[in-house]
Structures are given as C-alpha cells and as structure tokens.
Amino acid sequence: MSECKMLKQTFHTAVGFAAGLAFVVAAAPARAQTPAAPAANEGIPVQSDLVKAKCGSCHRSDDKGRMSRISYRRATPENWERTIKRMVTLNHATLEPADARNILKYLADHQGLAPEEDRPITFDAERRTIEYSYTADKDTSDTCSSCHSFARVLSERRTKEEWELLVAMHRGYYPLVDNQPMNGGQGFRRTRPMQTEPDADGRPPDNRHPMEKALEHLSKTLPLTTPEWSAWSASMQAPKLAGRWAIVGAQAGKGPIYGSVTVTADASAPDSFTTETKYTVARTGETVTRTSKALVYTGYQWRGRGTAGPGGPGGPGGNVTWREVMFVERDWTQMWGRWFTGAYDETGIDVKLTRVSTGTVVLGTSVASLKTGATGQAMRIFGANLPASPQPGDIGLGAGVTVSRVVSARPDEIAVDVNVASSAPIGPRDVSVGGSVKAAALVVYDKIDGLKVLPQAGMARVGGAVFPKQLQQFEVVAMNNGPDGKPDTADDLNLGIVTAKWSLEEYTATFGDDDIQFVGTLDANGLFTPSLDGPNPKRSGNRNNVGDVWVVAELASPDARQADRPLRARAQLLVTVPLYMAWFEDGSGK
C-alpha cells in the first residue's frame, strides 16, 4: 500500500465530490423506478407475487409484467443473494428472512444461469484458491478484477442497458474507481494521455475510456438472451436426487476419502433435501459422519449446510458448520464440487458423488502406492455393493501385483494382503472387483525419488485477537520419476501423502528478515496456524505478524548410505493481513 500513498493523497481531494454523489445514490431508491427502455422483446416477466409485492414499490412492472432492473438480468444464486442483501443494507428494503429466501429461490430458478454458463466459474461459489485470468478482453478484465474476482462478472447476464446501469452503480457507490490506479495505471476512466498516432496495424487510436470498452465487450459477450438459457429454462425440471450415492473426495493434508451419502427429499420445500454421509479417510481409517440440509437452485446448483458428528473435521467436537456447493450433472447421476468451512472457507474437501444402483462400484484404495518387492502389504478396497465373499482371484491389480489373502469383506470395504513382484513394472494400476474397475486407483513404484509440498504457494491471514484466522494446510507427497527416470516430467508418479518432518525456514525477502519468529506455527501434520492480528510492539516498526516463509518437509533418505542427506521439499507461505469486509459470509458462523 505504501507505494500508492502519493496517488492516494491526490485522490482524497475527490472525496468531497464523492460525498455528493453518494447523496444522489442514497436518495434514488426513494423514488419509484420507471422501467428502462429495453429492446422490444427482451426482458423476463416476473410471475412471483412475492417478488412483485416486496420489490414492486421501487421496481415498477410494465404491461408485459417486466419489472424495472430485475427483468433484464440473470445471475447465479450468489449474485442474486448479494443484490438482495444490498437492497436491504443500502436501499432500505425490509424483508423477512423467509421472504428473502423465497425471492432468492424464485429469481435464481427463473433468471439464473444455464449449466453451460455456470460450469467455467464453479470455483467461485466453491470458494477455491485458484488463479483465474480472463483473457477475452484485457480492458474488461482490468476494470472488473482489480477489485473482485472476474467470476462475479461471469455470474451475470444482462441487457446492454443493464450493464450500463451496473457500471453506473459502481461509480456511484465507489466514486474513486473512475481514477483509481488499477491494472495498468487506469481506472474506469482513461487517465493516460490521448493517443494521436495510429497503432501498429494502422488503425486509428482507440481513446475510449476503459469502462466504455468494457461495456461494449460485456454487452456483446454476456447478453441477457442466450441459446443456452433458452434451452435450459425450457428443459429444467425439479431434480429428483433422493437415493444412495457413493462419495469420493480429497482433503488437503488427509488425502482421499471414500464413503456413501444418503439423500432424502425434504417434503417441506421444493428442491430441498437432507443428507446423511459416512466416509472413511483412506490413509488413517478415521470415520466421519455428517448430516446436512440442501437446496438446489436452477435445477442443478446444490447449496447445502451441514455439521460433522463428534470427532469429525473442523476441530474437537466436530460440530462446525460446513457448506456444500455442488454442480448436479444433467443426467442426475453425478454431482461434484466442494464442501468447506473456516473463517475464509479455506478448509475443504473436493467431492464427487456418483449415484449407486445395485451394481458393484470400486471407489479406491487405502494406499496410494505399492512398492515393488513388498509382501503381505495390507490394503483396503473401498466401494459399494462389493461381493460378500471374494476370492483373491476376483480382485485384479495388474501386472506383478497379486492378492495373497482376503482378510475381511463388507459391502463397502474389502481388506486384503497383496504381494508385489520385484520385477513388477512401475506405473499406475487399475483395481477391479466383481466386474467394476477403478482406473489408476494406485501406482506401483520402485523408489522414492523426491518430495513435493502442496500447495506450492499457500496463504494465511493473521487473526485471533479481533478478526478470524485463515489457516493453511500443507501436505507432502512422495514422487517417483517414472519410467523415464527424469524429474518434473509428465510420467512422474505421485505416491501419495507421506508423514514427514515439517519446519519453517526464512524466506529472505529483505535484509535482516525476521518473519519466521513472528508469523505462526506449523504442526506435525502440516497445518499452519498464523499468529495474532494487530500491531506487534516487539517487531520493528510495530509490524503485524505478517511475513513470507518457506514451509519445509523432510523425509529420511530411503538410501541408507545417504542418511545424512534427507529428502527435502518446500513451498512458499505468505502470512498476510485480514480482510475487514466479509462479502461471502452472513456472520452467523462468527
């Protein structure tokens, strides 16, 4: 921030002007809005009496039942929710919580996004830490994603007039965006000198404001009416998801999970369900049970809230609320997404649910890898409808790997001992039981060549005194160089999570760097917990407990001759400042 200080001083002179604009914005809702003048056939009529009653005093209907602003926009449930909240907090709408929920459901169902439109941006609702670059138009990307994820833009479809009003809303609420030095040093308006020379291709210079270029792009690329929505809104049905589902998931630091989910339709409300989940953490054998309630928006967007039973994830007692965000595939046989918790939604499980009928399904194994030459290696195979008394020959593990003994068998789990020939070729192996195959369920390897810490770049936020902490879970996996014997190539084999020794090391960003003493602690399972928020008088300049460190994992060398040279890998961790606005939470969990 310090680098921007001078620029900020300049902008403060604009605050008086900004306050004037704010008055205009605040006064606007008091007047009824006249319907915009859209293209003749555009606009989605609102058929909900509740929406008309609660929103109609400002948003007037025209003779076709189209309400101003509302009818000219489609959005994801999350974006509709943010709008409804804003109407309450800033525009003086009064809504009972039940009414707000019903309005949200109606709008998301009748003016939502088609599955094809939502699929590229599911990471946003799933609250994933990924980097997303919008490459279709740089001006639009710079204008919007300087403040928020571009997925929030891609969560909208609007008429041209509505996109213009959206830009106007941003300029009204946040007057500085006009001149704020965002990407490339420009804000919504052009702050660079006018170009007079033609560009390299001989075209005349484009001296429009960035927001004008963005508006042209958005109106063209994300219009209200699309073939995808026309098709989906006609074919959408109330999802029938009740039944048994197999769940496969992965939790950072814990590895794969396998289990089952029973989904029951909740008769009290349409498109709502209750679930009971039981899964096993493959690596440790820990069993977790959970229950949840969920609502499906727009026929395919599963939004749930649940708690784990005692001993479950989320800490001692386990009764921590987890949210569920899943995408229901059109054939109703698969749903996938993320279940998550944490003050910043940072703790989560990537999940995939597959509907189970009467056939055998193999989900995975308790071990991620088998070493050549191993004998009597214990392993469990997870699945559904597994055979009651399988013989060793019924279980296929590929060349050089044989089942020596079936220890026990249940419909959801078979315990076996396996032998791996010394000459078994290394590489991924399919696991088959009773006519069902799980492709690449595990790998066969000869030696550990290296380690890899994941994620390669992590982030935590200080907290605990006033604001919540953001934790960061790391995991370390063993790697084999694969058949080509070279590291960092496509055929490298991931051997799964290993138990390693964790430590923090200084990431020397400045001379005399002392971050490691202050940022926080890393436990034996790779979970980083940051230190307290607030200025720290013990640090130079009262710095917060922020900093950059290396997270290092060490494993004793498998080669006894190199006992003094352990395998080692590291990842970067950024421990940074809190957020003081919680756009994604309602505060109920804090």
């Binding site: 921030m1 680098e3 921007c4 900020k8 902008f11 403060h12 605050v15 704010a22 605040a26 804003r86 907090t89 800033l90 980097e131 300087s146 403040c147 928020h148 609420y173 007057p175 500085l176 965006v177 030095p181 965002m182 990407n183 910043y344 290296g450 890899k452 810490v453 770049a457 604001f467 090391e505 200084e506 990431y507 020397t508 960003a509 400045t510 001379f511 760097d513 607030g534 200025p535 720290n536 300049g541 009262n542 710095r543 917060n544 922020v546 950059d548 290396w550 290092v552 080692r568 890998a569 950024l574 400042v577 957020l579 003081y580 606005m581 919680a582 756009w583 939470e585 505060g587 804090k590």
Partner: protein, 124 residues
C-alpha cells in the same frame, strides 16, 4: 556486474548477495536461505507464485501481497493505513467504505493503530 566495483558498504553487500544466487529450483530447497533475497529488488508485475485469494490481488500493489508477491512492501502495520483506506474508499472490497457500507466504522476508535481492537468486521 562484472564491470562495476562497489564503492561503499551497501554496494558491497548487494554484490555479495547477488553473487550467491542459489543454484537449482527453489521448490527443491536448494541454495541456502540467506542467499535468495528476492523482494524489493524486482520491478514489473509479480511473477508466479501468485496468491489469488480474496477479491483482489492485482491492485497496485495488492492487498495481500506486494508487487513482488511478498509482504515486505505492504503498508505496515496495516492499522496505520486502515482509516485512510476507509475514508478514501480506497480498498472497497477489503476495507469498509465510509460512504455507504460503514459510515460509523471508526466511531468507537479514533486511531486504529491504538484502538484497533474496537473496529468491527463488516458484513455488507
């Protein structure tokens, strides 16, 4: 650097630091930790790794990370600048803005650096 000779102590330290650039990939842990002084000496936009959490990391510099991808260049402590951001609506996605969402955010606390425990998390 071959044609330049340090003429003061600071220049000598910089030369020592740059001559000891670590060999090998950082994720393999090669090179000693004293070697790779990486922040504040680079220019241009941040290179990978990136930290894309939250609403924005691409402001100049970011809220979570500075332009080098680290924390060394952030305004510190954050409380020193917090009210400035609030009043100027400078970080509207990260800090409550005084125009609309939280006009009274600073009411209980005249100086964030002193009374930072009294400011609230805002749910817009």
């Amino acid at each position: 650097m071959n044609h330049l000779k340090p003429i003061n102590k600071k220049a000598a330290r910089i030369e020592r630091a740059t001559l000891r650039e670590p060999q090998g990939r950082p994720e393999q842990g090669r090179g000693t930790t004293e070697d790779d002084v990486v922040a504040l000496q680079r220019t241009g936009l941040p290179q990978a790794p990136h930290f894309p959490v939250g609403c924005s990391l691409v402001f100049s510099p970011g809220w979570e990370a500075d332009r080098t991808g680290g924390t060394a260049g952030l305004c510190q402590p954050v409380e020193r600048d917090l009210f400035d951001c609030h009043i100027g609506c400078y970080w509207p996605a990260q800090v409550p803005d005084q125009l609309n969402h939280a006009p009274d955010w600073t009411a209980k606390c005249a100086a964030a650096q002193k009374d930072w425990r009294k400011i609230d998390l805002i749910f817009p």
